[in-house]
């Protein structure tokens, strides 16, 4: 017999309006009686309406996993299963998308077919960490659903105290501002550390994010424990003819107001012949002028990445942006990419051994002091790591000369 749908007057109000409606999607799944997920979605809609009425959530966690892995499934058991029995188990599988979130329609359709067979038919593209979230699965169906997804080349993402699913921007695939091969860095680092993702054993979560330039389209500096941001060391590239075209098109006032005057380090000047003068030693690679004139200006040719670490949201010690750990790592040769992966691995090892339970790496660094963290990872100090030198006089400096000698040695080595 066909299961009756619950009345959902509040959710029904979210079916009107110009933006695509998730409620209509949920209803389509509920009404497709041929599909095994239909009854589950009817009760899911009922429970969601109950949440809208009472302004409370009714899911609790638990333990569900697939054979061979310790994480990746987000178990959800209903606290109101008595009234909504068919959605009493509504688990999510977090699955890693292809780097850069590229899909063939074949892959998307295979995903749909698998999820319609074993799950609810509801897929979120994508979660905040960058997972494909296959939402709505019974405990019994988690294993067969994962097996089928795994057979088409997809793998589980991260959950719990573990390496989490990563995200990289569109980058090299379609963006002229991209300063390194994001796909390569993303896949080499994450795929080299899969054990930490699939068998959660870290003190807490650890996230990597990869942005091809300082526009940071994947929000890495704040949202990743390690942010890998593309940048360059030499002079930015200027096509002076294209600059002149831009000035002709928008006028000198707009050019000065929106490009020259908005440079954060006053490194730009418009010449009398409408060419642009760039003081590259003062440029901080903020990307603003390049964003305004993408045809005339481009990043330089000596490219690599800046590594920032410690970004996180409030729990427990408050918000933190990541801060600079490596101002510049050249990223071009196979060896460069290997070195980056090795550094990532060293950071994970340090985190595993030194962080307290439920402590993010940014909190660990905060607790022990940046200088100690750098020493442990054998990274030399650099003025690019601070806004300014310390202002507090509470510091003991009896080994100043030894440290100063290290600085000059390091400078000498870097100049070679």
């Amino acid at each position: 017999m066909t299961k009756k749908s619950h009345d959902t007057p509040l959710l029904d109000e979210l079916k009107s309006g110009p933006w695509p409606s998730f409620v209509e999607g949920l209803e389509r799944l509920a009404q497709d009686e041929e599909k095994p997920g239909s009854d589950m979605m009817k009760d899911l809609l009922g429970q969601l309406e109950h949440s809208y009425e009472t302004r409370r959530g009714y899911w609790k966690g638990g333990t569900v996993s697939v054979f061979g892995y310790g994480g990746g499934v987000i178990p959800r058991f209903s606290e109101v299963a008595k009234d909504y029995p068919e959605s009493s188990e509504f688990h999510t599988l977090r699955v890693q998308p292809p780097a850069g979130m590229h899909y063939s329609t074949k892959l998307l359709r295979d995903m749909c077919d698998i999820w319609e067979k074993h799950g609810s038919g509801l897929i979120a593209l994508h979660g905040q960490s960058g997972d494909i979230m296959f939402q709505g699965c019974t405990t019994d169906n988690v294993q067969p659903a994962f097996d089928d997804l795994n057979k088409i080349g997809l793998d589980m993402g991260g959950a719990g105290p573990a390496l989490r699913t990563s995200m990289s921007c569109v980058g090299h695939a379609r963006c002229e501002q991209s300063c390194y091969d994001e796909v390569r860095a993303h896949r080499e680092i994450i795929n080299g550390l899969l054990d930490e993702m699939h068998r959660p054993a870290l003190p807490y979560k650890f996230k990597f994010k990869f942005s091809g330039c300082p526009n940071d389209c994947v929000n890495a500096i704040h949202r990743a424990d390690m942010a890998v941001i593309g940048t360059w060391r030499d002079d930015m590239q200027v096509d002076q003819e294209a600059v002149k075209e831009h000035v002709t098109k928008v006028g000198r006032k707009q050019m000065i107001d929106t490009v020259v005057a908005m440079c954060p380090t006053r490194a730009l000047s418009l010449n009398d012949d409408d060419t642009l003068e760039v003081d590259n030693r003062s440029c901080v690679r903020c990307m603003h002028c390049i964003n305004v004139m993408p045809k005339a200006l481009s990043p330089g040719k000596d490219r690599g990445v800046t590594i920032l670490m410690g970004g996180k949201r409030s729990l427990k010690i408050g918000d933190q942006m990541g801060t600079v750990i490596h101002p510049f790592l050249k990223l071009e040769s196979d060896e460069d990419y290997e070195k980056l992966s090795e550094f990532a691995e060293e950071c994970i090892d340090f985190f595993a051994e030194n962080a307290l339970e439920h402590e993010r790496i940014g909190e660990t660094i905060d607790r022990i002091g940046l200088a100690n963290f750098l020493k442990a990872l054998d990274v030399p100090v650099d003025p690019n790591m601070v806004n300014h030198p310390r202002t507090s006089s509470y510091v003991r400096t009896d080994d100043w000369d030894i440290e100063a000698a290290k600085w000059f040695e390091h400078k000498k080595a870097a100049a070679k």
């Binding site: 999607g25 074949k106 793998d155 929000n219 941001i229 908005m262 603003h288 729990l315």
Partner: protein, 359 residues
């Protein structure tokens, strides 16, 4: 265990190689793009050093998609975009097409199917959102519903590029703030300490872990009605909800305590100014499904004040930095209260230690 019931061992593929799933023009010009321009809102035109060109049409989605919606997107990708597509970090669908001529008919079909085209350049992109009542175990509110309601009202700002700079909005259903920083962020802000079900604590919660989780050391072990439980020093409690995930009997959500707050001026990009956190500008708004009208009204006030007064290329936070917070509160008719003066670690850094003032 016999072979028949032995579960299958996973193939640890890791992050899939995207090249088999990448549009051929993108694959062939990987790392070799020259410049881009925006012929109209919702369309990007990229030119490679090889001379190859690609037009990207960007469309908003509801993020939580039924298979029917995904198959509809696939149909359009097959018809116009050689069987490939991608998604942005804000759940917009992108179709890459090899000629400008294809963009018009594709846009028409997307609009017919109910997908708005936009989200490029200086527009409002899709609001990034979290799980909410649909799937989260600790949500104070819904995410999909808040986003749907707001995007309905702000549809014009998605489909047009009329803002001073790009606008990135976020929502979060608890104070953990999974939605992240935003030019405008709509986040749950609890206003009451947790209500403890003492009968359940001993069986459900690892008490020392819960004590350790509290940012202000307001939780201590206690015997209540002869059972081991926990108690909260309600004068110390900052109502953050951090104890609730490890100990669900410490219920933080409730009709009287789950309110919404609005934060502004968060920014991830390094363009011009360094990345910034968003700042609290309104709180105690009712958690009012299905369309949260009180929240939408204030969001619109802030957004349109910025649209009106912001200079070209100023992000919302940079606009406020120029005009000053006094003027911001005046233009948006919002209150500045003692609760907006920070008192957490590093708070002194947010105080004005100068004679630089806005009047």
């Amino acid at each position: 265990m016999n072979d028949a019931v032995m579960p299958r061992r996973p193939d640890e593929h890791g992050v899939p190689d995207p090249f088999p799933y990448m549009h051929p023009t993108l694959r062939e010009n990987y790392g070799n793009w020259s410049y881009h321009e925006r012929p109209r809102p919702g369309v990007l035109h990229h030119v490679a050093h090889s001379g190859d060109e690609i037009w990207t049409v960007r469309a908003g989605t509801q993020r939580q998609m039924d298979v029917g919606t995904i198959r509809k997107l696939c149909e359009l990708a097959d018809e116009f975009a050689d069987g490939f597509m991608r998604f942005t970090t804000r759940s917009n669908a992108e179709f890459m097409v090899t000629s400008l001529d294809k963009t018009g008919p594709l846009i028409e079909k997307l609009n017919e199917a109910g997908f708005p085209v936009g989200g490029t350049g200086n527009s409002l992109s899709m609001i990034s959102h979290t799980q909410g009542w649909l799937h989260c175990d600790i949500p104070g509110t819904d995410a999909s519903g808040v986003v749907k309601s707001l995007m309905d009202e702000l549809h014009h700002e998605f489909t047009h590029e009329e803002m001073p700079n790009r606008v990135r909005m976020t929502t979060s259903c608890c104070q953990i703030n999974c939605g992240g920083q935003g030019d405008i962020a709509i986040n749950v802000q609890y206003t009451k300490p947790p209500k403890i079900n003492h009968d359940l604590v001993a069986n459900v919660c690892e008490r020392p872990a819960v004590v350790a989780r509290c940012p202000v050391a307001a939780i201590r072990p206690a015997m209540v009605n002869g059972k081991p439980s926990l108690e909260v020093d309600e004068k110390k409690c900052i109502c953050c909800g951090a104890c609730y995930p490890p100990c669900p009997p410490m219920q933080i959500n409730g009709d009287d305590s789950t309110k919404l707050a609005i934060w502004v001026g968060g920014k991830h990009s390094n363009a011009r100014s360094k990345p910034t956190f968003h700042k609290l500008v309104a709180a105690n708004l009712p958690n009012n499904p299905p369309r949260w009208p009180e929240v939408a009204a204030i969001v619109k006030r802030i957004l349109y004040a910025y649209k009106e007064d912001g200079q070209a290329w100023e992000r919302l936070g940079e606009w406020i930095e120029r005009i000053g917070w006094a003027r911001f509160f005046e233009l948006t008719d919002l209150a500045f209260t003692k609760h907006q003066i920070d008192d957490w670690r590093g708070a002194r850094n947010s105080l004005n230690a100068s004679a630089h003032l806005h009047f």
